[in-house]
Amino acid sequence: MTGSTTQSTFPVGDVRIELTVQGSGAPLLFLHPEIGIASDAPIIAELAKHWTVHVPSHPGFGASELPRWMSEVDDLAYFYLDYLEAQGIDKAVVVGSSLGGWIAAEMAVRSCERVSYLVLAGAAGIKVSDREHRDFADIFTLSISEVNALSYTGAALAQQDYKALDEAALTVLHRNREATGLFAWSPYMHHPKLRRRLGRIKAPTLVLWGDDDRIVSADYGRAYSAAIPGSTFDLIEGSGHYPHIEQPAAFAARVARHAGR
């Protein structure tokens, strides 16, 4: 039994976001990647076996509002620090995937006061390669089909016919792309100073990577981990860039082990 599920909207300051909360026990905040997250995503139920899982849609994503003043990932980092406070959460496991991992890292370099454990999965946010090589595949100069082919190791997801989605789902897909274009266009998918700031992270950190991530390499993940004091790096087999989608049970198990569950 994973407890009850609620879907609602939640205000943080003047911004109202779409929110799914599922499960019971200590809180876990899951920060979704650039492709957003559905309220019935299997990862939510997996994580809800251990925690009360909070799955917001970031401002500008899904059905969440986007205030005019937001334009950078640091706006989102402060937003989620405020979210924890607004929910009265003293300590949460914070898990972020890709863009969500970048947000989680930006939160943690600002304050780990309310972060018990940190998990960064396929996280964007730092610059590793030299100036003539990008670290993160440019999702804006590839077609959506090409991005899917790079993102997943399993054929069903890699070759999905996204154009067959209904209009509501396609609208959300494009809204998520637009918000990603706002927050991560340039510098592309990173903040030049974040890597140096990662040393400020005080929470025990796990860096998780799909073993077949062709969006951003496992070596990038190792560099991420090396910059966070005391962190561990781990691979999830049978997964591309989104292990929480391709291997939700294994993903939840790694998070649980890291957080002592």
């Binding site: 804006f140 918000a179 990603t180 706002l182």
Partner: protein, 400 residues
């Protein structure tokens, strides 16, 4: 009526019928600088000829594409500012929401206006979807940047007791004080091209010249009518002067119908290549609204334009790519024929859409040769331009 000679300065040697992509990522190994130099000189010669013949001049810019070698409209206008004598010089447009430094834009425009002794017309545009990757600017909130850049440029041109400072949302300057100030005060006339209703109001409020590009009968009429409505609603007195309206069409003129028809087929190379681009470049994040993207998703994947030809009475003649020249004329996208026919087509179209004072004439497009272009310009100047000017003067008299 002013008639503006326009060419995108194409580089057709890099086109092929099988091409799926002529935008953003076609490597520049496909352009030979020697051929490009010859073409630039040729297109400039055609603009100089147009100046001699009584046309005005219109140029634009695109990036990373053989459909248009003008990577900087200000550079071409700077050359023409010195080399021409009479023509007004329209850059339509300058994608000011993509320029990282609008102060530099204001300086360049002021130089062009002064060198040309006050012949500049400033066309500010959002830019087409393919420009954003090439310019490395996000399409998200581009119109916010556009209007802030516009406000800064206009203020920089009209302020003569500066410097002033600017600390906006997108642009920051400690000392704005452009030298030279523009010849025309407070600033050269402003134009923009408009394709959808919600942008019309911003043009009408300011009384800027609104152009519509190859939009046919119904859409052009609707856009011009909306401008009239917004013009009156925002407190302007009297009717909208016709000079505030412009229409861009392809024009192919010949001594015989057969000659015009042949030229039209060459000019149309423009339309056949213009939208040959990958899906992701036709639909960068935030350029279209999410719901428009969801609706349009099936057409984004197609390499060629899906624009439909619609006649004056609303009959659909199918996609542009498959339309005959006669269909294109029926759709109001092309004016084609002998001088008498072209005059008749332009005036009929202008009356039907409520009138316009500017015909933006794609007189060179696609693979149309220098000889054909020069001969067309001379024929038009001799046989059509004087009649159009007399005709529009008469229309102005009737309206007054």
């Amino acid at each position: 009526m002013r008639v503006w000679h326009f060419s995108e300065e194409p580089y057709p040697a890099a086109w092929s019928p099988e091409a799926k992509n002529l935008r953003v990522s076609l490597p520049n190994q496909n352009i030979d600088p020697v051929q490009a130099a010859d073409l630039y000189h040729r297109y400039l010669d055609e603009w100089l000829l147009a100046d001699d013949l009584g046309f005005d001049i219109f140029a634009n810019e695109h990036h990373s594409t053989p459909t248009c070698m003008t990577a900087s409209v200000n550079l071409i206008l700077a050359i023409l500012a010195r080399q021409t004598r009479k023509a007004r010089l329209l850059g339509l447009g300058l994608p000011i929401g993509l320029r990282p430094d609008p102060l530099r834009v204001a300086e360049e425009l002021s130089m062009i206006d002064v060198i040309s002794r006050g012949r500049l017309e400033m066309g500010f545009i959002k830019g087409v979807p393919y420009e954003f990757s090439a310019a490395n600017r996000s399409p998200v909130r581009v119109m916010d940047r556009f209007w802030e850049a516009h406000d800064l440029i206009v203020k920089a041109m009209g302020t003569h007791d500066g410097p002033f400072s600017w600390e906006g949302e997108h642009f920051h300057y400690r000392s704005v004080n452009i030298w030279p100030r523009p010849w025309q005060q407070p600033h050269p006339p402003v134009w923009s091209s408009v394709g959808s209703m919600h942008n019309v109001r911003n043009m009408a409020i300011r009384g800027y010249t609104m152009a519509t590009f190859i939009n046919g009968w119904q859409k052009s009429r609707d856009l011009f009518n909306e401008y009239r409505k917004q013009w009156t609603a925002s407190g302007h007195a009297g009717p909208v002067p016709l000079e505030r309206f412009a229409y861009l069409a392809m024009v192919a003129i010949g001594n015989t119908e057969a000659e015009a028809d042949r030229r039209a087929s060459l000019v149309r190379g423009y339309l056949e290549t213009n939208a040959t681009a990958y899906e992701q470049h036709k639909n960068p994040p935030g350029f279209w609204s999410p719901s428009d993207s969801a609706r349009l998703i099936k057409t984004f994947g197609q390499p060629h334009p899906t624009m439909t030809v619609t006649t004056r009475d609303g009959q659909k003649l199918g996609p542009v790519a498959k339309a005959s020249n006669a269909d294109m004329v029926a759709g109001g996208l092309l004016f084609c024929g002998t001088p008498d026919q072209v005059f008749e087509q332009i005036t009929t179209f202008a009356d039907a859409v409520g009138g316009f004072g500017n015909l933006l004439m794609m007189g060179q497009g696609g693979r149309l040769s220098h000889e054909d272009t020069a001969d067309s310009l001379k024929l038009f100047a001799r046989e059509v331009l004087p009649r159009l000017q007399a005709w529009s003067a008469e229309r102005e008299r009737q309206a007054a």
